[in-house]
């Protein structure tokens, strides 16, 4: 009946996490960059941020808040507010060394122009301090990016993909560049290009060849870097729009379209007319001269073949999405250097070192297609439930596995590459299966897809006191009967109940709480569905929803005055449990 009061014309109001999109990353070993994307029509108060860091010993310094827009406030005097995107630098004292991660809790206050304010809102992030392994080979680095995407998808608010991993990103892009040079429309061009570089006629020394090739590659890399910077800048300008699910959805669609190009569904390249015009211009510079080579390199980067155009567009979109100008420029520069490696090798060895072109290059191309599909999933992951994300990853991994011939038998004389590819395929297949099983078994953690299964398994383990699920009043009576004199604790739970989850994670897990739990019968009513039986149970206990913890004595009467509503830290909760246990007689 109360629904009648929900006015149809109610202006749409965002959840606080959407109105004030929160992200945090380590800027360096001593400071955290906290950023908020404030939705249009919403604002935050400058003097209302509070940051706390864990574990104990890690001390936050004075946050560096940019100047806000000043307003006269009748009560507070001058008040500064923020709109749009906001970046706060939070220095910290790391305390003792060896801390693997820092937990950041940020409390903020903000309002919407339609005339409401949000209650102080806490957002959390975990920042990993783990050092990056050095000396990663480019292919390692490439898989690092893929995995990094999985990490990012876990929680969009936390850990942007390359959180603290600037060099990892650079290495990955270098690796991608190297891989790109092994696609069917780049590699066969290398001898031709190197011929042009070295020029006709006079023989050159290896050093001279290498120098010319290096200058050419640097020119190419400059163009790419400019493109990367442009992408980063435009991303920074469009930052607001980039938080919009529809825009991100459109981006994802573009990625899928680009992926289709990599699978050979169609060819994406600059118009041929434009390409030949550029080629003409660059041909005017004669080989053999360093300055000429540089200009040729700059121009050649603009001649995009069908294999490079799609991944490059993907990389630029990705950079745009990351809104990081420095990363954009450096990453694309690194990518171009990677692409130039075969050319350098040819230049240095005067043509002796040259991988043989072959159908294997098609595989490289398809690899890029798969990566682009992965990026599409990553982009939309903040807006889709984790279970759906898992199904998508599962689909991608399993389909990839099939194309890697994971379940086809190996021919008798299979050579190393076939065996390797089958091995990779099986890994992808198993990972895909894990995600599918995880999604179907209610896993909620993209990093631990099978965690859902583990919880049920450990529920019966002696180490953790098990909760018995009840659904209605009658079951409650039965279980109290069956408890035979033990104190009964009934916990109301719902998926949407934040403090219930905090209770589970921080309080129930406490050693002392667990010890007392073992002396009790623990019941839990999951009222997420809120059906008639749930409502009746809540009415009986005069509760109207979780959170709520109620204790019963041996007669099945509620122990009055011991109700726990809302989050309670372990210290206080232990005291409540002790009181409840003292009623046992």
């Amino acid at each position: 009946m109360l629904c009648g009061f929900a006015r149809a014309a109610e202006p749409e109001l965002l959840e606080p996490d959407q109105a004030f999109r929160f992200a945090a990353r380590l800027k360096d070993a001593r400071s955290i960059e906290v950023s908020y994307q404030i939705a249009p029509g919403y604002y935050m108060y400058r003097d209302r941020f509070r940051f706390t860091l864990g574990p104990a010993g890690v001390k936050p310094g004075e946050p560096q808040l940019p100047a806000g827009k000043k307003h006269r406030d009748e009560f507070f005097g001058e008040v500064e507010t923020y709109r749009g995107s906001l970046s706060i630098l939070l220095p910290f004292e790391p305390g003792e060394t060896g801390v693997p991660a820092i937990q950041l809790a940020a409390v903020s206050q903000g309002c919407a122009d339609i005339g409401v304010c949000y209650v102080p809102h806490e957002q959390k992030a975990e920042l990993r301090l783990a050092s990056l392994s050095t000396g990663a080979t480019p292919s390692d680095a490439a898989s690092g990016v893929l995995f990094g995407m999985g990490l990012g998808a876990d929680d969009a608010r936390v850990a942007r993909v390359f959180e603290g991993g600037f060099w990892l990103a650079i290495a990955s892009f270098f690796g991608f560049g190297l891989l790109l040079s092994f696609t069917p429309c780049v590699l066969p061009m290398v001898p031709i290009v190197s011929g042009v570089i070295i020029g006709t006629g006079q023989p050159v020394t290896k050093a001279r060849g290498f120098l010319l090739a290096a200058v050419y590659v640097l020119g190419m890399a400059m163009t790419y870097a400019v493109a990367g910077v442009a992408a980063g800048l435009s991303g920074a300008m469009l930052s607001m729009a980039l938080q919009n699910p529809w825009v991100l959805g459109a981006f994802a669609a573009v990625f899928v379209a680009l992926a289709l190009a990599m699978f050979g569904f169609y060819e994406l390249q600059l118009p041929v007319a434009l390409q030949s015009r550029l080629a003409d211009v660059s041909n005017r510079f004669h080989g053999g001269h360093t300055a000429g080579m540089f200009v040729m390199g700059v121009l050649s980067a603009l001649i995009l073949g069908p294999c490079v155009a799609a991944p490059l567009a993907g990389a630029l979109l990705y950079i745009g999405q990351s809104r990081d100008v420095v990363l954009g420029g450096s990453a694309l520069f690194a990518m171009a250097l990677g692409m130039g490696v075969p050319l350098l090798a040819v230049g240095a060895s005067a043509g002796a070192l040259m991988p043989k072109a072959g159908p294997w290059m098609e595989t490289v191309k398809r690899f890029f297609g798969t990566v682009l599909l992965g990026m599409a999933i990553y982009l939309v992951s903040p807006f889709i439930p984790v279970s759906v994300q898992m199904v998508l990853w599962a689909a991608l991994l399993m389909l990839t596995a099939i194309y890697l011939r994971a379940i086809d038998p190996l021919p008798a004389g299979a050579h190393g590459f076939q065996r390797f590819s089958k091995g990779m395929g099986i890994i992808a297949l198993v990972a895909g299966l894990a995600y599918l099983v995880g999604a179907l078994s209610g896993g909620r953690d993209i990093l631990q897809p099978l965690a859902g299964l583990r919880v049920t398994a450990s529920g019966t383990a002696p180490s953790e006191a098990p909760f018995q699920r009840i659904n209605n009043s009658a079951e409650l009576d039965d279980r109290i009967q069956a408890a035979a004199g033990r104190t009964v604790m009934l916990d109301f739970y719902a998926d949407w109940c934040v403090s219930c989850k905090e209770m589970e994670r921080y309080t129930f897990s406490d050693e002392r709480v667990q010890a007392r739990f073992r002396e009790m019968t623990l019941l839990q009513a999951d009222v997420t569905a809120n059906n008639a039986e749930h409502a009746a149970l809540l009415r009986r206990l005069r509760l109207f929803g979780p959170p709520g913890i109620v204790f019963f004595d041996r007669e099945g009467r509620e122990i009055q005055g011991l109700r726990v509503i809302g989050f309670q830290p372990a210290d206080r909760f232990v005291a409540v449990l002790d009181q409840a246990l003292s009623f046992r007689r």
Binding site: L13, E74, Y118, G249, V256, F383, L399, N530, R542, F544
Partner: protein, 179 residues
């Protein structure tokens, strides 16, 4: 073969896009606005113990049987402050006929005390805590926004829930028939 590969990926991509869109629509539909309040909200609101500015706790139980307007607010919340002078006037006008305003602030005690004096607030101001915020969410205010106002009649029925600033005239129309 190639075309079929592409088709497969296209289907997967299409499905994922559809799922994303569906979820977005769903999350907007059931989003942050006023959700349905479960039964018993009033009981919970009335029985909750809330801190007062003097350091003790109070429950709204003491005003049961009156026409009760419970206003959740904060001094830092500009839209909240705008409606308060109207509340003061209504309390003055209808207090003798059984209207009782109660303000529950999500705020610091000193600010609330200062505000009470400056705005000459003629009704009790209490201080809400984390449990108040949880209660607000359960009362149907899922996004946890202020101001939020509940109107409860003499029999303890929830007559109105208002999210955002409330005009004096509108509130007057709501409470007059209840007095």
């Amino acid at each position: 073969m190639k075309a079929r590969t592409a088709m497969l990926f296209a289907v997967v991509a299409g499905l994922s896009a559809a799922a994303g869109v569906a979820y977005h629509l769903w999350s907007r539909g059931s989003g942050a606005g006023l959700a349905m309040a479960p039964d018993g909200v009033v009981e919970r609101v009335l029985s909750a113990r809330v801190a007062d500015v003097k350091g003790g706790t109070q429950s709204l139980e003491q005003w049961r049987g009156q026409v009760l307007v419970v206003n959740y607010w904060a001094t830092w919340c500009a839209p909240c402050r705008e409606e308060i002078p109207g509340f003061v006037r209504l309390q003055e006008r209808y207090g003798s006929r059984g209207l009782q305003f109660v303000g529950i602030a999500i705020d610091q005690p000193d600010k609330v005390a200062e505000f009470a004096i400056e705005f000459r607030i003629n009704y009790p101001l209490l201080l809400g805590g984390l449990d108040t915020i949880e209660l607000l969410r359960q009362a149907g205010n899922r996004a946890g926004v202020l101001p939020y106002t509940l109107v409860i009649d003499r029999k303890g029925n929830l007559v109105s829930r208002e999210q955002g600033g409330l005009k004096e005239a509108k509130l007057e129309r709501i409470i007059q028939p209840l007095l």
